[in-house]
């Protein structure tokens, strides 16, 4: 029994320690801005790795999710003769929820796991130590550009996701199922608010970007530098960041849209 409580206490403490290390890493990466001469080039490279490389999966997923939403929404709405409301249904669910959340989940699977594996591998092959011994701060050189790349990429990806999905919904709803194109757009426009829906969706996206990128980088930076440790860290990145995204999504939705 005492062992049981002891192990709970021990686990709690190590969770706190882990959170502390993660915070220290983040602060280390944010406070030490990469030097101005090299920074932009490093950031562009990481934007390519993190953002551009996720573009295809985001666009394809967005297209299909928009099409499915239109199809499902239509079959329900047409029962009430309200198929003209397909536009706002699709746009609101995408801008408020699906855009930021699905992008974050896909991003965690595509870019987050890659970030963890890459940094874990750099740690295992002593590249991080080697940087330190060359008097180059790995937080500044390796972690910082990746963090900013993730933080910038994800909201952009979420916007692209939503836009493509709405086009997909238009494709199915208007071109295929015969909803009137004019009412599709105009009712959407009258129902969707720029501040409340688009900006709040983007705020969500920035929060998710912070969470997913932070978790991915920390898991890589803190992993046990063996192949087993890296594979464990990669899995943890996807699991932890997905759960964190869904949890925070609930909190943010409660704050933003319940009023």
């Amino acid at each position: 029994m005492i062992d049981f409580f002891q192990s709970i206490g021990h686990k709690t403490l190590s969770r706190f320690a882990s959170l502390g290390r993660a915070t220290r890493m983040l602060i280390g990466a944010l406070v030490n801005v990469p030097n101005l001469r090299k920074g932009p080039a490093l950031l562009v490279r990481q934007l390519y790795m993190v953002g551009h490389q996720s573009l295809l999966i985001i666009m394809v997923s967005g297209l299909f999710i928009g099409m499915v939403l239109a199809l499902q929404g239509y079959t329900v709405l047409v029962g009430y003769g309200a198929e003209d409301s397909l536009g706002p249904l699709v746009a609101l669910s995408l801008l408020r929820e699906l855009g930021p959340v699905v992008t974050a989940l896909l991003f965690a699977g595509r870019a987050g796991s890659a970030l963890t594996a890459e940094i874990g591998l750099m740690k295992a092959t002593e590249q991080l130590s080697s940087l330190e011994m060359m008097a180059i701060d790995p937080l500044r050189r390796v972690v910082s550009p990746r963090f900013w790349a993730g933080f910038i990429s994800m909201p952009l990806l979420a916007l692209i996701f939503s836009a493509v999905a709405i086009l997909g919904a238009h494709l199915v709803g208007v071109d295929w199922l015969g909803v009137d194109s004019g009412s599709f757009w105009s009712i959407m426009q009258s129902q969707v608010s720029f501040e409340k829906d688009i900006l709040n969706g983007m705020i969500k996206s920035f929060v998710f970007a912070l969470i997913v990128t932070w978790i991915a980088l920390y898991k890589g930076y803190d992993c046990i530098p063996t192949s087993e440790g890296i594979s464990k860290a990669t899995t943890e990145t996807v699991v932890h960041s997905s759960l964190a995204v869904l949890g925070f999504d609930f909190l943010l939705t409660a704050v933003m849209f319940s009023g």
Binding site: Q127, M133, M134
Partner: protein
Amino acid sequence: MSQFVNVDVESDLSQAIVEIKDVTFSRGERTIYKNMSFSVPKGKITAIMGPSGIGKTTMLRLIGGQLKPDNGDILFEGQSIPRMSRKALYDARTKMSMLFQSGALFTDMSVFDNVAFPLREHTQLSEDLIRLVVLMKLQAVGLRGAKDLMPSELSGGMARRAALARAIALDPELIMYDEPFAGQDPISMGVLVKLIKSLNEVLGLSSLIVTHDVNEVLSIADHVVIIAEQGVIGSGTPEQMQQHDSALVQQFLKGLSDGPVPFHYQAQNYQEELLSGGQ
């Protein structure tokens, strides 16, 4: 302590570039070093030897300031590494470099860019000048022809030589080699031994080699420190070490040259573990 009486014998080896003073270091519950002291003379090749798992790599990380000792002091060119500010430490690190066991080449850069990396980071040299320096360094390790290869295309020995070229890119005062001979075939081993020796002579730097390949290192080392049981059990020139009266030193030197015979120190641990497992 009687263990480092021999240090006085090397007074002819001029001043020390690194001095380890009374260092105690533990990781978790396990004490790795207890009141250990030795020094690395300037301009010479010093070998730190000892059985696996006694924290030889830890020693290098302590000197590099990546770890801090619990007690005692580590001096690099007379300045205390553990008490340095972050900036001073980074300045000191530009004067030392480390060759990691795996080479630690950056996997996303070509060999050329790897060697150019510290130059681009720490100097304001033009690309033309950097190209010249890099080619010179690669020529020194015999890999000028491999400059466009990626690290994944190199053999283990070539990766280590490329890493060596990168380590000497900034003309450091001190190079630390972490197990440079581990897992090398006899030819690459011979190449590395020759390289370390010649780099030390030509560039006039100090070398610190951590290894347990006794024969290779004794052939080039000027100064040998043997670590076991949480401290230095013997130090001196290779000749002095061959005649050292400590049984432990003899066992280590001969034990390994005979073949992979488990070292005395390890065997004790093993027995204890067996006994404790039986209870």
